[in-house]
């Protein structure tokens, strides 16, 4: 399967017709991205005061995680929508096929990079104390996210993506749970753990959804609804703790 078919899920779905932008599929994707972006930004700005007052590293990485989620979903749909809707290809006289392929590749790269970083920041926000606050790990995460993003452009085998992302998911979940088990804190917060694990899992489902569009076609709406639900639950938890102001 050619890469641009995989990458430009919505772009491929346009079949070169701007009118398709208004189709239910793309409309749903835009709405879904919009919900994730709004939730993420509300979490980011809602915790701004707490971070400014405390300068706590955990809060800093937690906020950055949601900023990166917002960026990932912005690039996933909004950029693609803007470029195609405003017919940038014709303005700059770029052949349509090359333009769509380029847009697909750019959105895929940025989505993969920012969403991987979002997950790594979320993991780091929980783990930074156990890793002795070694901020050099952040550079390693950036490198890893870059490799993931580049690999998704270079390899053309969907099984490679699946394998790579499931390996990453396992790594994140195992690290998270080993750390929790070692933790001296007896009182575990089951609800929060479930939300974190679901967030990690739906990150993978979203990646599969964007890389292998036909894989989850039947469950696409379910993935969108469940992912939105996770972010709304997280937003609710954050706003409840921060205070509705």
């Amino acid at each position: 399967m050619p890469m641009y078919h995989l990458t430009g899920k919505a772009v491929g779905g346009f079949k070169g017709n701007i009118g398709m932008l208004t189709s239910l599929g793309f409309g749903t994707e835009i709405l879904y991205s919009f919900i994730i972006i709004i939730c993420s930004l509300m979490i980011y700005f809602g915790t701004k005061e707490l971070y400014e007052l405390s300068s706590h590293k955990g809060i800093k990485y937690f906020r950055q995680s949601f900023l990166f989620f917002a960026l990932a979903y912005f690039f996933r749909s909004s950029i693609k929508f803007g470029l195609v809707y405003f017919n940038v290809a014709e303005i700059f006289d770029i052949p349509r096929r090359i333009f769509l392929m380029g847009v697909g590749q750019i959105t895929l790269f940025t989505f993969m990079y920012f969403s991987s970083m979002a997950i790594f920041y979320l993991l780091y926000s929980v783990m930074w104390k156990k890793w002795n606050g070694n901020s050099k790990k952040i550079y390693l995460f950036h490198l890893l996210a870059f490799v993931i993003a580049i690999s998704s452009l270079l390899f053309r085998n969907p099984l490679v993506y699946l394998g790579m992302n499931f390996f990453l998911l396992l790594l994140v979940i195992i690290t998270f749970y080993i750390s929790r088990k070692q933790s001296k804190q007896k009182k575990t917060k089951q609800n929060l753990h479930i939300i974190y694990v679901l967030l990690f899992s739906f990150w993978i489902l979203n990646i599969i959804d964007i890389l292998i569009p036909n894989f989850f076609q039947i469950f696409q709406l379910f993935i969108y609804l469940a992912s939105s639900g996770i972010f709304l639950a997280m937003l609710y938890k954050v706003l409840k703790k921060v205070g509705s102001n």
Binding site: L53, S55, F62, V126, K189, K237
Partner: protein, 89 residues
Amino acid sequence: MAKRGRLEIIRDILDIIRENHNSIKPTPLLRQSNISSSRFKEYFNDLQERNFIKKVNNKNGRFILLTEKGFKFLEKYKTIVNFIDEFEL
């Protein structure tokens, strides 16, 4: 007694200033803070840089006062700690 964390020490220092009608000399503040003088210096400089406290000189000597941001920290301290605890940050 459990070892105090960074935020707890900051809360305690700011609380001492507030409890003393928002005006205290450096030496009693150091004594009541219950930390070593070298650590007190670190915290003191940090709090000054972050605009939580300010130094005021008058005819009776040098006094430490809370700024608006210092009061805000005390007001939000429980929220910050609950948030960190809730999300295990």
